[in-house]
């Protein structure tokens, strides 16, 4: 066959994409952790945690076309599950007397605990999605929102296990920039593999045309459940990282503010490409940090300039609305970094290329 180089060129050279996204982030992580000031290290850690969470939403929503408003619930489930395994062994029998015995009296190493916490989030997602994913896309999106409120109710009232709405303190603060980066890299890799897999392709087919996808034999329910479950694992991990970064957790952390922030990031960057999500998280985070700085008061030429409280949320909301209005596919327009061209020409302009055309050959 002539002119068919794209037919078989799927992984090979395009593995450059996840590498090109993950490696610079890794360099930054090492840089700030070992050479940077601690405040910057904290900021970078927080950005990377949001990146894991945003990538989790991306894994599900970009392929299925169903926006998930419920992933923050899986972050909460992960955070609490990790706390049960690693937090405050002295206090647990009293404050969380409803925990099973093996959790109440012992602590476990943090990394296996994090993975177990992610698995719990994934199992909950698996069960929930068996129901939710039968719905059409709008109804399914609303149902994911309902999940968030179910989580809030259950964890906010299950005092003997979650301490209700009180803040749980004393989680080991082991999370460093490099540590989160490892999860970022894994999440980028999994998102990349998923979107280039048969499951990813069939899901994107069903996103465009549900009826025609069924005529192509696609078991859409099954594929959606798989994608939702995998993505919930990473949401769970992001929640674990969040809890162990600050050292405290409460159910209020895992509610609308965080949901809005993550969706804003995903929308600003663009839900249709991996590069877009990474860009979106970084851009919105930078805007957020700048606004936060001004909210706290900045001295410019002797004058203290300060923005009123709440400016951060308003600023992000405005950015999101502007992007939706002028660039509905997000900053990246659904394109991926064209790593090959970039390396080949070594120009400073990073060219973007279509991602949905099978991450190849679109000239």
């Amino acid at each position: 066959m002539k002119n068919n180089r794209f037919v078989s060129s799927i992984p090979g050279d395009t593995w450059l994409l996840p590498s090109a996204l993950a490696i610079p982030l890794g360099v930054v992580a090492v840089g700030v952790q070992y050479f940077g000031p601690p405040t910057i290290a904290v900021t970078v850690t927080e950005i990377y945690i949001r990146l894991v969470a945003a990538l989790a939403i991306y894994m599900f929503s970009s392929n299925t076309g169903i926006i998930s408003y419920g992933h923050v619930a899986f972050m909460g489930i992960g955070a609490y599950a990790s706390a049960w395994q690693t937090c405050c062994v002295m206090m647990k029998p009293i404050t969380m007397h409803g925990l099973p015995a093996f959790l109440k009296t012992a602590n476990f190493p943090v990394v296996p605990s994090a993975i177990a916490a992610g698995v719990l989030a994934a199992v909950v997602a698996l069960v929930a999605s068996l129901v939710i994913m039968r719905l059409n896309s709008i109804a399914a999106a609303i149902a994911t929102f309902a999940l968030l409120f179910i989580f809030q109710s259950v964890y906010g009232h299950w005092d003997s296990v979650t301490m209700g709405v009180s803040t749980m303190i004393g989680l080991p603060q082991y999370v460093t920039p490099v540590h989160v980066w490892i999860w970022v890299a894994i999440a980028i890799l999994v998102a990349f593999i998923l979107q280039n897999s048969s499951i990813g392709l069939m899901l994107r087919a069903s996103r465009d045309e549900h009826t025609a996808a069924r005529a192509c034999g696609a078991r859409i329910l099954k594929y959606r459940v798989i994608a939702f479950t995998i993505s919930a694992f990473f949401a769970g991990i992001a929640g674990v990282m969040l809890g162990h970064r600050i050292g405290t957790i409460s159910v209020a952390t895992f509610h609308l503010d965080l949901t809005f922030l993550l969706l804003a990031m995903v929308v600003v960057g663009g839900l249709r490409s991996l590069s877009g999500v990474v860009l979106g998280v970084i851009i919105v985070s930078v805007i957020m940090e700048v606004l936060r700085l001004f909210q706290g008061g900045v001295s410019i030429g002797g004058q203290i300039v300060s923005l009123p409280a709440g400016s951060v949320q308003i600023g992000i909301a405005l950015v999101m609305i502007l992007v939706l209005r002028f660039r509905p596919d997000g900053i990246a327009k659904g394109l991926e970094f064209d790593v090959k061209r970039w390396l080949g020409r070594s120009s400073d302009e990073v060219a973007l290329r279509r991602s949905d055309s099978g991450s190849s050959a679109a000239e």
């Binding site: 392709l201 465009d208 005529a215």
Partner: protein
Amino acid sequence: MEGVGVRFGRLSALDGVDLKLRPNSVTGLIGPNGAGKTTAVNVLTGFQKPTSGKIFLGSQELTGHTPEEFARQGVTRSFQSGRLFSKLSVIDNVASAAIGIRRLGRTKAREHAYGILEWIGCADVASAFAGTLPHGVQQRVGLARAIAGFPSFILLDEPAAGLGRTDCDGLIALIQKIPSKFECGVLLIEHNMTVIMNACSSIVVFAGGRRIAEGTPAEVAHDAEVRRAYLGSANEQTMAI
């Protein structure tokens, strides 16, 4: 299908209809608007559960199965409205049928799809987004997608609708070759009488949810009831257009 009836509330879209497709040949299905042609295709691909009657593939009964199962059993279709995956490339549109139905890997599926696109004359747009293509090319891609699922029967719902004269002739010529090339039977719905008379080895006529005639093109053309139902008061002259 045997004695199939489909009711939407009071309306009877199909009423005790028998329809038999022969392997390795093109069967035409004609009838006025609202005759139940699309409904028949929906029934034969699992998208519409019949209110009464049964569907068989060979000796195997498929009544009540899902569209996914129909597709995997070897009955594929195109849609009257195209329904391409607009944000996927053309090659992935076609490959998705091979992946969904035969569980081919992505690379294998794309090779398979590329072969079909070459045959159908769309290989040059293989990496374009399906949604950006002109109507005529989209129709061909829809046909390619139906072929890519290794079908034993392909049901084509007005694949030539809205095409110009040359595009239409080219597409119909391809459709006529499908049975020998891909070893499967074809059901072709089409409004243009000349086209259907030339392309099909047998023709079925629907009107008002009933099958009113069946036979070779010549038999059907001379059937009085067909002329009454399908062409109103038209005479045989119009028929020959």
